[in-house]
């Protein structure tokens, strides 16, 4: 196994040279920080990822989570990972001091999540689950809920989940049937229903698990407008914070999955075998909008997981390609000459470049979003906050869907570098591929993300979200164009940007005319085109920073030169395809829309 999971030099380049996150130090929330604390945090996370998460990666897959009919045991190695994360404060890097966090920026949290996920995504999800549950309660819960739940969740004492999906309500959350009835006595609700596919849903890593659950209150309006959010602990929590009795959250089973097997993906029955108490988070019938706030984080986190897996696979592939001897230079006809490492073959380097370019573009997109989220969280300027929000709204489906779609392809290329050995479970790439598949499915399947982008984000505030992004992209294209060496690349990205705007206007007219089905039927192609523009833009921004560093006589010139070439590779090989997709979209290809179900 490779002992390299990520390129830390590149991550530092993104954080400090491209995104200039030291700008965040101006905000009071981060005033105790410095580049030094950031570096120490990401270095510590990388050490943990390599030395604690990664060695358990294959083992957790082979052992899996185990259900004995009533309880779930997490894989053995997960206990040590949990302990390390708890001791290290990794359940709450960004959280405020009052709740036990260290007030790191989200940009750093994104990197540490990336590193842990590169080491072992199943494991990272247990930790992230607790963070997510706490984040919801912190954002929308009342003081009592905060007092009871936040410290133990952020401190790694308890686990957490988010429980939306039901057997008959996956994509269509408006159809959930789990109910909450106000208890005749007390401030709680009585919960009944079944949730399915709940990540970290049950395990023995912590003495309690906190489930934020989507429910319907009695008399709630049908559909998404009648969904509320309640917090349901596995064991009730007394007013003084001590644990009370079992809350009748019963595990019916866990899934046997193609990947992420170290994860306990549970079916949970609430209140089927006795009273199950839940407490309302925020106001009635606002549950879905609360959950969406967390889901935006969760979607970006899914993209992070996806590119993290691609990063681990890429570094395995590089190592293998340097070591595996096979074949000779095409021009070498001497059969007795020694065979050469496969990395000497251009086609193998093409596969490695494809991965590297994807990873660098995707990380660029994700860390751009993280910095925007940091600004949004900290700025007092309402205009800026609004712009940040618009940028995040548009980019979130790209971070989730495009990154997970392409990560899978990237790992396919990594596996291909291994030849037959890649198909065998001895090397970790096969598992990395299996693990990665679900990222295009959960947190809203990618088809749904595409509809979210085209159906909701593009028309949002009369196109303001897309405009905000295009303005940002335009600025950077102009900056790159001013550097002679980058002008050809900038022109290509510019051409694609023009095409994207053109297609968007064209589709907009169809949408305005009321032909909603026609408008949306090529959403997936639209998301691909749109995201490739974003990736091309990110490469261009990185290339600009690299060129500037070279012009300033930077020390490690090879790093910057490699960055420039990677950007060139992405832009030259992808942008023409993007233009082709734009053509398809403009032609409003409608076969799938009209094709009768009976004909299949």
């Amino acid at each position: 196994m490779s002992d390299k999971l990520a390129d830390m030099r590149f991550i530092r380049f993104l954080l400090y040279e491209v995104n200039k996150i030291e700008e965040l130090l101006q905000y009071p929330y981060h005033e105790d920080h410095s580049r030094e604390t950031f570096d120490m945090a990401i270095d510590a996370a990388y050490d943990l990822a390599r030395e604690v998460f990664w060695p358990a990666f294959q083992e957790m897959d082979r052992e899996g989570a185990v259900f004995d009919g009533s309880h779930v045991a997490a894989p053995k190695a997960m206990h040590e990972i949990w302990r390390q994360c708890k001791e290290g404060g990794w359940f709450a890097p960004n959280v405020c001091y009052d709740f036990g966090g260290q007030q790191f920026p989200l940009s750093i949290l994104a990197v540490t999540s990336f590193l842990f996920s590169a080491g072992n995504s199943s494991a990272a999800m247990y930790v992230n689950g607790a963070w997510g549950a706490a984040h919801l309660i912190e954002s929308f819960g009342n003081e009592d809920l905060k007092a009871r739940y936040l410290q133990p969740l952020y401190g790694g004492e308890w686990g957490g989940t988010m429980a939306l999906t039901e057997p008959d309500a996956g994509t269509s959350l408006g159809d959930i049937t789990t109910t909450a009835v106000k208890a005749p006595d007390g401030d709680h609700y009585l919960i009944r229903g079944t949730k399915r596919f709940i990540s970290s849903g049950d395990h023995d890593l912590a003495e309690n698990i906190i489930h934020p659950v989507l429910v319907r209150l009695e008399g709630a309006p049908p559909g998404v407008k009648g969904i509320s959010l309640v917090v349901v602990p596995k064991r009730r929590v007394n007013a003084d914070g001590t644990l009370g009795e079992f809350n009748n959250v019963v595990t019916a089973g866990i899934e046997h999955k193609m990947g992420l097997r170290g994860q306990a993906t549970a079916t949970l029955m609430f209140g089927e075998q006795g009273e199950c108490h839940g407490w309302l988070i925020g106001e009635p019938n606002k549950g879905l909008s609360y959950m969406f706030q967390l889901m935006n984080h969760a979607r970006v986190f899914t993209g992070i997981q996806a590119v993290a897996g691609a990063s681990a696979a890429y570094h395995c592939a590089v190592q293998y390609a340097r070591e595996r001897l096979q074949g000779r230079e095409i021009t070498n006809k001497d059969p007795l000459s020694p065979q050469i490492p496969i990395i000497s073959h251009a086609d193998v380097r093409r596969m490695l470049l494809q991965q590297k370019a994807f990873i660098e573009g995707a990380l660029g997109m994700i860390l751009f979003c993280a910095k925007v989220a940091d600004r949004m969280q900290n700025t007092t300027d309402e205009e800026e906050k609004k712009t940040c929000n618009l940028l995040l709204e548009t980019l979130t489906p790209c971070c989730k869907a495009h990154v997970s779609d392409e990560a899978f392809k990237s790992i396919t290329a990594a596996l291909q570098c291994f030849g037959g050995a890649g198909f065998c479970e001895e090397f970790p790439v096969a598992q990395l591929l299996r693990d990665n598949k679900v990222f295009s499915i959960y947190e809203g399947a990618n088809g749904i993300q595409a509809m979210d982008l085209l159906g909701r984000k593009v028309p949002m505030e009369a196109g303001a979200a897309v405009r905000a992004l295009m303005t940002e992209i335009g600025k950077n294209i102009a900056e790159a164009s001013a550097l002679e060496a980058l002008k050809p690349l900038a022109d290509k990205v510019q051409e694609v940007q023009n095409a994207v705007i053109d297609v968007t206007m064209h589709l907009g007219a169809i949408g305005m005319s009321g032909e909603v089905n026609l408008y949306i039927c090529n959403a997936t192609a639209y998301l691909a085109m749109f995201s490739q523009l974003v990736m091309g833009w990110q490469h261009l921004v990185q290339a600009t920073a690299a060129q500037q560093a070279l012009d300033a006589g930077a020390d490690d010139a090879d790093f910057y030169k490699a960055k420039l070439e990677t950007a060139r590779f992405y832009i030259n090989t992808t942008m023409p395809h993007t233009l082709a997709t734009a053509q398809v979209l403009k032609a409003v290809e409608r076969t799938a829309l009209d094709y009768p179900p009976d004909w299949f």
């Binding site: 604390t37 120490m40 945090a41 510590a44 260290q102």
Partner: protein, 258 residues
């Protein structure tokens, strides 16, 4: 009780190394630097002693300004304070010169116990701590895999070729850490934040009344080369019994390691 830990900033051995254009040193550009891994064991042991019996742990490092990063990571593990002896240049010091400087610096910190890694993973010289001890006239023990400490003495298991021995040293003393001694802890986020506020004392050769002349004295590097890469892997044929037999034979006769 006061424990001083000697730590060295070294290139991460996972880096890709190149010989610099002078042919006599390592190209430093693009290298990532870390605390020498054996020193991490020394820091860990000091923190454990602190937790067990109460002690002040001071981490001392000599070298360029960037040594502070290594000191900070020891502080993030839980050490109390740091001391940085600024040396001119980046590399090219000789063990003797550095030991002379460190001995004077360590003495100003008045340690009851000095801990260090058994060797630094850059030059692997394994000389500096022992030289420091001799210069300070302290009893010392090297390559230690177990350590127990009282207010007046330290008992250690030392690795020696083919076995180990146990020794008791009266304090003050110096001990060098081997891998098996403990498992170094990871820096925690709360400790990273605390580390920022901990003091790092600035020491200079001037302030200690030393001159830089002796740092490199007594050693001349004439050439530097990367180790030859050889693929000596060998795959054994036959069933398991045959292969084991062949393996044992090869280890005995060809490699002469058994």
């Amino acid at each position: 009780m006061k424990i001083v830990v000697l730590v060295k900033r070294v290139p991460d051995t996972a880096s890709v190394f190149k010989v610099a254009s002078d042919g006599r040193s390592v190209e430093l550009d693009g290298l990532k630097f870390v605390m020498s891994p054996y020193d991490e064991h020394a820091v860990e042991e000091a923190i454990r002693l602190k937790e067990k019996m109460g002690a002040e742990v001071i981490v001392l490092s000599a070298g360029p300004p960037e040594c502070k990063e290594v000191i900070r990571s020891a502080l993030a593990m839980g050490a109390d304070a740091g001391a940085h002896l600024l040396l001119p240049g980046d590399t090219g010091y000789a063990s003797r010169g550095v030991a002379e400087a460190l001995a004077v610096a360590a003495k100003t910190l008045e340690p009851d116990l000095i801990l260090a890694g058994k060797q630094a993973v850059d030059d692997d010289a394994a000389q500096v701590p022992e030289r420091v001890a001799e210069l300070l006239d302290l009893p010392h023990a090297s390559i230690v895999t177990r350590l127990e400490c009282t207010a007046t003495a330290v008992t250690v298991d030392c690795e020696v070729e083919g076995g180990q021995f146990t020794a008791e040293l009266p304090l003050p003393a110096l001990v060098t850490a081997q891998k098996g001694l403990n498992t170094p802890r990871y820096p925690t986020l709360p400790n990273i934040m605390k580390a920022k506020k901990k003091e790092i004392r600035e020491l200079t050769l001037d302030k200690l009344g030393l001159s830089g002349d002796r740092l490199a004295a007594g050693m001349t590097v004439t050439a530097m080369a990367l180790p030859r890469q050889q693929r000596l892997g060998k795959i054994l044929d036959g069933d398991t019994a045959q292969r084991v037999k062949e393996l044992v034979r090869a280890l005995r006769e060809d490699e002469k390691v058994l």
